[in-house]
């Protein structure tokens, strides 16, 4: 799973630290900037229309009324307007979105292949992505056209001639559409879960002809029938009470044995919620010198960096707060079950084909970060991009003298542990990012994880609704929709937008890019515009300033999405959920204030 930005502890994220600006101070700064800009803009318009003094008086009265009305808002009025928005949404056939969703699910089975290596990932990412786009689309349509429709039909006359504050109209709309969107989303969530579970559900038979005794051990091994495009290898002990078909395609099957009858149960563990404990990552280069990053293999995406095979190059993760399992001292549990479970994802970069069908070999060791006591090398076959779940055994061998060492007593010191991974084949490379190795905690509830992912979709929906409603307080329906769509699209590509604004993207600013596009110049060479380069770059400088300002209030929709967590089978961290909810609340508050002043300062009638 890709995790490009670290998930900070909530308080650190909210208040900030010595080297990062927290969400709250950032919000206050942006709010102050927007407020000053709004104040100056409002005064400029008022002064142009009514003169300097009267303009100032009107601006003061509008702002002071805004503060006063903040305390005069009535939950009952907001509730009434929210209820009206729900009825209006229902009348505008919001349920059609649900019908479309059901139709999509009905036909999705035709196109989603179950021969995928990890079909759960495919199914989950499909339903979550479809839900996201449908819900955002319906949120956009509902929010952008509601108030303009009231203005057009003049029903707003009978609202604003009641003691209704503009803020109540904005909040009522946002809450109403959020309520109907929540119902829609919850229904889609239930349908999606049922669809995924039922689509992935299957079983196998044991191919009895393949069963043979395990060499050097008791029990039998064999394989299952080929169903749903895959089969499993099985190992049955003599008792045969608690067997599993080995994990394949991201799941396993329980096997029960009654005498000669062997029954394979339904697929399990398709949908998971792994809880990782991440550490920090550093690299050693081929000479064994410590580096902040590995080497680049030429990929533009610099998320992972690579270590070279058959050299001293290594990726070293340091974990803190490593705790032994609670059953460590339980004499009934054998030592081999008291190891430390870890997860490892390796991106394999081959500079030559190697042996066809054979995985690239890697090694894993654990080390005491203080005493540098290191375990013997443990080999593993690295399958590209697959989550390799291993357990570091409790009893290890000291690589220095071959003595037996205890993981919890000798290697883990003050809760700290180092895990060293190397590539063993020359000319081949392993690529890693920090989240690619983690300590595995007991899995969380997949259903709860599903709920968390839907919460992140809900957050996106609410922000779209808030933008749409606030924009529609001033603009006509189509224009408000275009503005909201622009916000959403720019929000999905916020990093690129910020890159263009900050001048870190190749090709210059918007005007320079346009000139390059028209004159067919590549983005790397210096701009040639027949002597007009300073003008082009001057205009870009101004535009980039505006873009940077817009970027401060642009919601990062790509960062809100937690679809990949569920698709790859990881639990969405609670910190992340609370951060998203807080961000959502900040957007609602900010946009409601903006919407209030837009509605308050416009003439309702024509």
């Amino acid at each position: 799973m890709v995790l490009e930005q670290d998930i900070l502890p909530y308080l650190q994220w909210f208040l900030g630290s010595s080297d990062t600006l927290g969400a709250l101070p950032r919000f206050l700064l942006v709010a102050l900037g927007v407020a000053l800009l709004g104040l100056l803009g409002g005064y400029a318009v008022a002064a142009a229309r009514h003169g300097i003094l009267r303009g100032g008086d009107l601006t003061y009265r509008t702002v002071s009324a805004g503060f006063r009305e903040l305390f005069e808002m009535s939950p009952r009025r907001i509730g009434a307007l929210a209820k009206l928005a729900i009825k209006e949404a229902w009348r505008r056939r919001v349920w059609v979105a649900f019908a479309v969703f059901i139709v999509i699910l009905m036909f999705a089975g035709w196109f989603l292949k179950t021969d995928h290596q990890d079909p759960a990932k495919l199914y989950i990412s499909f339903v979550l992505t479809a839900t996201t786009y449908l819900v955002l689309g319906i949120a956009l349509l509902l929010s952008a056209f509601s108030l303009p429709s009231d203005f057009k039909s003049k029903t707003i006359y009978t609202i604003v001639t009641k003691p209704v504050r503009s803020g109540e109209i904005i909040l009522g709309r946002i809450l109403g559409f959020t309520a109907i969107g929540t119902i829609l989303l919850a229904t889609m969530a239930i349908c999606s879960y049922v669809f995924v579970v039922r689509s992935l559900d299957h079983t196998h038979d044991v191919e009895l002809s393949t069963l043979k005794k395990i060499a050097g051990a008791t029990g039998n091994e064999g394989r299952t029938s080929l169903d749903a495009y895959h089969r499993h290898f099985i190992e049955l002990d003599v008792e045969g009470a608690e067997n599993q078909a080995l994990s394949n395609h991201g799941h396993y099957h329980p096997i029960s044995r009654r005498g000669e009858n062997i029954r394979v149960g339904q697929a399990e563990n398709f949908i998971r919620a792994r809880i990782p404990q991440w550490g920090t990552l550093r690299y050693l280069d081929r000479q064994g010198t410590e580096q902040a990053r590995g080497i680049s293999v030429g990929s533009e995406w610099t998320y992972r960096s690579f270590i070279e095979g058959r050299s001293q190059a290594a990726a070293i993760w340091t974990f803190e707060n490593v705790k032994p399992p609670s059953y460590l001292d339980d004499p009934d549990i054998p030592d081999e079950d008291k190891g430390l479970p870890i997860g490892l994802i390796v991106r394999v970069f081959r500079t030559h084909k190697g042996t066809i069908g054979k995985a690239i070999g890697g090694s894993i060791q654990v080390r005491n970060p203080e005493t540098l006591l290191t375990s013997e090398i443990d080999y593993f076959p690295a399958v590209d991009a697959k989550v390799d779940e291993q357990t570091i055994p409790r009893k290890l061998t000291n690589i220095a003298d071959g003595s037996e060492i205890d993981l919890y007593e000798d290697v883990i010191q003050d809760g700290k542990l180092e895990v060293i991974v190397q590539c063993l084949e020359p000319g081949q490379y392993f690529g890693f990012a920090r989240p690619d190795c983690y300590l595995r905690m007991p899995d969380g509830s997949p259903i709860l994880n599903f709920v968390k992912v839907y919460l992140s979709i809900w957050v996106q929906m609410v922000i779209v609704i808030a933008i749409g409603v606030s924009a529609s307080a001033l603009l006509s329906g189509p224009v408000a929709m275009l503005l909201t769509v622009s916000f959403v699209l720019l929000g999905f590509f916020r990093d690129f937008f910020v890159g263009v604004a900050a001048g870190t993207e190749y090709g210059g600013g918007p005007v320079e890019s346009l000139v390059r596009l028209i004159t067919q110049q590549n983005v790397m060479s210096p701009l040639k515009a027949g002597g007009a380069e300073p003008i082009v770059q001057g205009i870009d400088f101004g535009l980039q300033g505006i873009m940077l300002s817009v970027a401060q209030v642009l919601p990062d929709f790509s960062a809100f999405s937690t679809v990949s967590f569920a698709a790859y089978g990881y639990e969405v961290p609670a910190e992340r959920v609370f951060q998203d909810l807080t961000t959502c609340l900040a957007y609602i508050a900010g946009l409601a204030v903006v919407g209030y002043f837009l509605l308050r300062t416009r003439e309702v009638a024509r």
């Binding site: 142009a48 229309r49 009514h50 009324a65 009305e69 009535s74 009952r76 009025r77 509730g79 009434a80 307007l81 209820k83 009206l84 009825k87 209006e88 009348r91 039909s153 003049k154 029903t155 707003i156 006359y157 009978t158 609202i159 604003v160 001639t161 009641k162 003691p163 209704v164 504050r165 003439e603 309702v604 009638a605």
Partner: protein, 304 residues
Amino acid sequence: MSQETVVQTRSLSKVYRDFWGRQKVRALKALDLEVHRGEVFGLLGPNGSGKTTTIKLLLGLLFPTSGEALIFGKNSTDVGKNERLGYLPEESYLYRFLNAEETLDFYARLFDMEPAVRQERVDALIKQVGLDKARKRQLQEYSKGMTRRIGLAQALINNPELILLDEPTSGLDPLGTREMKDMILRLKDEGKTVIMCSHLLADVQDVCDRIAILHQGELKELGRVDELLTVADVTQIRATGLSDDCQNEIRDVINRHNGEVLQMDNPTTTLEELFLSIVRDSEARPGRRAASPTEQGSAPQSDA
């Protein structure tokens, strides 16, 4: 009648501008007006005279270009004034997917009414406007008359002290018109202040205490209806018991034949005559306050 001022406008002006801020129309020019508690006040004027603009300025739906409008002493853009105000728009701008009960309940919630009070008020108003049997029907199924009645009910949901009615009898049949006028008079009896604008002069004449006549955004006439309609320079004699021969020379005959003089006073014109006369005069002499037709000796209506 109390002389407490409920509505006051001071040099209230409104200029409509285009997107670029250029003046399109001067809809209202320095209107000075006072409406007192308990009176029924009529705003008259041809299309485009500024009466709807005045209503919208009073309601805060439009912002004045200059001058100010005060309702209960508060600026018209102050939302707080709406607590004591009811408004019936020209068309019933209501949510057509709601039924009568839902509509009134919704508007009652906007006044922050407690549920019990709300229920009671909704029931009473539905019965008062005669929609008891149609209370569960969506407004989109209502006839024009029924829509006006539910519109009136929403305007009265808060038991307002000031009611603004924009063309209250528009689209109503004679019976509905009669009921609306009775309702206005009943509101007056309850001590409420009513401001209405209408094209139907007979309706205004029937219910209004005072009227203002606007033309091209200017106030042309303002005063009590009975005073405005009085023709000052003409004497009207109402008599009975006269023979056919005496009717040609009525004044002499009354004296000579000992007829009984029942009434001798100034006759009144109709509001329609007054209105048309003012409009004609305003068009002939724009920018000046029109001379009252009653001062011009225009056609008096004789009941003789």
